[in-house]
Subunit: 334 residues, 2 copies
């Protein structure tokens, strides 16, 4: 069975001039240093130090070989989403990014699954782009968990998700534009440690409590990164609220725990007890290896947690290491 | 052994005129309806429907008898904190609130432990008030998890906590003024389901990563409500970040997991798997029954989760139901 990592990022080579396609300032671009290191840039600002696997497919494939990862789903980084830009410019930008991701993954088509991005601020354009991207070879779509105040339960985004389901395009949801950043920015990466998990929990609960899942087709394949954030652990609190307050349950057919069969999560929780709880809540058929490669807050030994976590059966480990993802991305048997 | 609930709220009878002591508008007051129901008010706005146990000690004691709870620690509600007011007015307001809480708990001094509140926006005044409140019979201090942008690791708040430790006054920390409310307000109580847990995790991580715990005396007794929010579940992510990024670990002597012996949490997590993980992370000697009585998002059968959760020993259950709290609040043996 193939080991498949569903949560990895790419920042393909994009010049500052190309970044300007998206915005006149704050444009995302990649600064390479020529020694295997580089910097993700936001206009003049240094956003994050990065290494060659992020933009160089050969370096990525070598890392995958070392780690024993057969296949990666390859997503852009949230800095590249462009949801705040004019929809027309964002559409052109996404076309460029998606082309670069296709080129990148074409270096090893059996091992690198390209995921497109879309201008989600314009859900109709985003839907059309998903159809086109699928025809060009993209294997899924990578979206942020919200667009300004609209989470995935907004009617037009539900419509977009319905379209993805009809097209058979899996959706990978990544938190971005993090809540509460004014209280955390510049301090110990707290937005990554606190707000990312809260954003994802908020997104899943919004879909459950709004009746969003009730309205979506069951064939939708949607996966939330970082183990679904704090959703699994805080599910008891949400269910208790649903049972005890009319204003919590008014729009949904069932409590939040009833919807765990409607989505997947990745395994990036970094702790055996947390992974066991996640598997207990979601079922082993809903958890897929995801490492956040190649970022430093990712899992440094891909699959290590799943392989060594006590209390899992071999069958569960196989599902999480690749079986579920093979089904999710229809990668064929091997 | 006594069953002790460390997380309960009171909104003592306070008129709108008394609320005006704190602010000229938006003052907190209690509207009673004469039928055992009432409304927590914020100026003209209805904040939350409530029932008599919140303000009537007889109703509370009857509920405790029914539930088999021997002792409660009794805290104000966060709506009453007054941290945004002028410090002088907030100080007078806290004196009034603390007097009312003392009167309330005097109805059953062996069963109701009064916790004071303080004007935390003025840490020196807050420290002096803790000393005075202790001499008047308060058994601990109930604080919010932050004051505007300052979390508990702000130097003057660390100084306040040091004073509490020296005075032997236990501290109960409750989330309030919730982050990301602009993205959740008015929707399914999402601030209570998402932001409260994130605020508490942020507070604990701030104390750990800033070196705050390194600077605080070990005798400080500090307990975080709602099971410490999402801290326990997301601890692996925080530790992984500490090990892999210099900007995460630069100010602390050890990774966040090294500080679990420095604080307590309550048991309000509403799910057996979550409670087991919490006990696994914190140790059974660090988890205390807390129900959020009498609010509808609280545990409806106090102690039920601890008593029925599989995988705990009887000794662990006894610690969590009362043994730890007896030590925490020095309630004597019985």
């Amino acid at each position: 069975m193939n080991v498949i990592d569903v949560h990895t990022h790419v920042f393909p080579r994009l010049s500052r001039a190309e970044g300007r396609l998206l915005t006149d300032a704050g444009e995302p671009w990649l600064r390479e240093h020529g020694d295997g290191t580089g910097m993700m840039m936001s206009g003049d600002a240094e956003y994050r130090p990065v290494e060659a696997g992020l933009w160089d497919p050969a370096a990525r494939l070598a890392a995958m070989d070392t780690a024993g990862v057969d296949v990666q789903a390859v997503s852009s980084t949230p800095l590249m989403f462009g949801y705040e830009a004019d929809p027309g410019r964002a559409g052109e930008w996404c076309e460029l990014v998606n082309e670069r991701i296709l080129d990148y993954c074409a270096q090893a088509p059996d091992r690198l699954l390209p995921l497109c991005q879309v201008p989600l601020q314009d859900a109709a354009t985003a839907a059309a782009m998903v159809t086109r991207a699928a025809s060009q070879g993209h294997r899924g779509v990578h979206i942020g968990n919200h667009v300004g105040p609209r989470y995935l339960d907004a009617p037009e985004i539900l419509e977009f998700l319905r379209h993805c389901a009809e097209q058979g395009m899996p959706v990978l949801v990544h938190p971005w534009d993090l809540l509460g950043s004014d209280r955390m920015a510049g301090r110990y990466m707290l937005p990554w440690l606190v707000a990312m998990a809260a954003e994802t929990q908020l997104t899943i609960l919004s879909l459950a409590l709004s009746g969003g899942f009730d309205k979506l087709p069951h064939q939708l394949k949607i996966c939330f990164c970082h183990g679904g954030g704090s959703f699994a652990y805080l599910l008891g609190r949400a269910d208790n609220a649903w049972h005890n307050r009319d204003i919590v349950r008014k729009d949904s057919a069932a409590p939040p725990s009833a919807y765990t069969g409607r989505f997947h999560v990745d395994s990036a929780v970094f702790d055996p007890a947390a992974l066991r709880l996640l598997v207990h809540v979601m079922g082993a058929d809903r958890v897929m290896l995801g490492t956040d490669y190649p970022f430093p807050l990712g899992e440094r030994e891909p699959g290590g947690l799943i392989r060594t976590c006590p209390g899992l059966t071999d069958a569960e480990r196989q599902l999480m290491l690749g079986g579920n993802a093979q089904e999710f991305f229809k990668t064929g048997t091997s």
